[in-house]
Symmetry: C2
Subunit: 398 residues, 2 copies
Amino acid sequence: MISEKMKGLVQGSSVIRAMFEEGKKLASIYGEDHVYDFSLGNPNVPAPEQVNQAVKGIVEEEQSVMVHGYMSNSGYEDVRTAIADSLNRRFDTRFQRDNIVMTVGAAGGLNVILKSLLNPGDEVIVFAPFFGEYRAYVENYDGKLLVVPADTKDFQLNLKAFESMITSATKAVIINNPNNPTGVVYSEHTIRNLAEILNRKQNEYGTEIFLISDEPYRELVYDGAEAVYLTKYHDNTIVAYSYSKSLSLPGERIGYLVIPDEAADSQEIQSAANVATRILGFVNAPSLMQRVIGRCVKAGVTTDITPYDRNRKLLYENLKRMGFECVRPEGAFYLFVKTPTEDEMEFVNAAKKYNVLLVPGSAFHCPGYVRISYCVSENTIRNSLPEFEKLAEEFIKK
Amino acid sequence: MISEKMKGLVQGSSVIRAMFEEGKKLASIYGEDHVYDFSLGNPNVPAPEQVNQAVKGIVEEEQSVMVHGYMSNSGYEDVRTAIADSLNRRFDTRFQRDNIVMTVGAAGGLNVILKSLLNPGDEVIVFAPFFGEYRAYVENYDGKLLVVPADTKDFQLNLKAFESMITSATKAVIINNPNNPTGVVYSEHTIRNLAEILNRKQNEYGTEIFLISDEPYRELVYDGAEAVYLTKYHDNTIVAYSYSKSLSLPGERIGYLVIPDEAADSQEIQSAANVATRILGFVNAPSLMQRVIGRCVKAGVTTDITPYDRNRKLLYENLKRMGFECVRPEGAFYLFVKTPTEDEMEFVNAAKKYNVLLVPGSAFHCPGYVRISYCVSENTIRNSLPEFEKLAEEFIKK
């Protein structure tokens, strides 16, 4: 009874989500302490205390009909102004309220902007490894996804291959910075080169190519790394942001799009995003959470990322010591580890025997790797180390 | 730069939303007390006090990582069980957790189920007058919307015309009960006849025809009226519910789908709805609000609808006294009034002169009428009566 499109999607469903469900099952059998679930990017650091204080303050102090009611589809004006101001302070940009559209997380924002921009057959380019759902988001609007092969040397962008794939049908490019699944932060050098190629190809074809930057991990950077703000490098940039990771609110579905004035037909795109928010059934980003974000952004609330940083070092250094190969991550909360055997599923299944849950790299269009989400307790990591040792014995030191 | 599909949608954007924006503008000029904005279904009755108590209780008592975190895409298991139990108690049904998928409001739920079911070209039938966004929802998935003309006698369903429009390509029928914009509740007699036709046509064509029931107004009924529970009349029924109106939480985007075991391929549809929730970018219904609903449903919390009932009688009786024609509404918070002139826009514009904002019937595919949302303060209604008198003078008693 379900649609043909959905049949394939249900069968191929999310490997990550399947692991998450598997993890819950194993935890119910072996106990949570004996399952090492590295499958999902579900932050284990609680939301900052100010979030719950804001929640309570709002329901006590603000008018209920306003807090829980409809507002413009793009979101509360004061919240959008607060976000624009905060971006301007931090990144020396010049956004105003109308450049911001509140969204149901970054996933909602990506769907809204793709619905707004894509005609059937339009090409959208992504760089492997990438968050697998991008394919579904693009195909929701009958766009055609093209994948640039990974540059496995340092997991920056493979720009040479990218340039050769741009055609007159290229409508958008999606990048994810800091990157899921590699944890790599794209250097300013990489971004400058990317922008230069986009500009050159726009001129060559007389088209506009939108750079869509998916940035839920913007604030999760370590060792002084910095993700540059892309609207400053390419005019046709749309930013999709989410508070899922930066304020540990993934279940709340709260984020925003930035549609800068510099983008071609920016006002038309802003109107389209407003309408798309409505007709895709979001209607608006959840209202109480919008108000919470308004307060937190004004107060400059951030999550303490030191637990992630500690986990990162602990796991990275130990895995390297055991002989695993992995690019050193500077952002997000993922390690992308080369599997010591070519058949990644052999390794994933072996790990599962030790109750270690990993996501195969092919879920990110980059087989031969596994993603480890280290947004778990330090204890989980410490207790998993002997299991990783066993895997190293089995696969590396054999 | 925006897509061809969106161009039409932006131009034709929502008349209702345009009125809402207009109302905010007029209010800023004339003051809120002097603008009679009957345009939007934004409840003026605040959410029951227990909602905000639940919000505070949850952030104080429950684990933050769980409250704001990811859960299964279909929603928290305990919340879905609580909803199934509540439905079973009230409507003598036999739902379980797996029959419930938590959604971003009913609009989110309708998109999820249409994405799950529709192949391009599949036909979806709606009955005029209907909530105009249904067209966009159906066309999002390349379905074809067919509109059964209104039965303006009593605004029950025009079943004779309906039957003649069913073909082998009919995949679904959407009804909205109690109805927006008429406030009519479909009688059990109507529903029985509808189910009987669906059954007969399914047999004739060897197809399954899904009855999608959009029910945000289920609890807003007056004079002892009752909206029967449709899964008991037609096996292939999907219910889209929202707490927007029944708990005055429209901005929070919280609702659910019911996919009963009786529906054809029900498990497959449940899986597809789970995946559609994810890939459309909802990911899951907002987490804190899911938990709030869990507590409120268990406690049997309801909104006090007496203010709506008072408004309904006040406005209905006065408009009838002035000579306006209108079907007596038994549900929701709308009156659907026949315009005393054939050109409804002439009437809508005349009303605007008196700062009375009405939505033209053509927004609901039923020209010659206006919708009046009476989910406003009693004072707004009282103060608007002299303005309606002027309209009656101008159009009826001239």
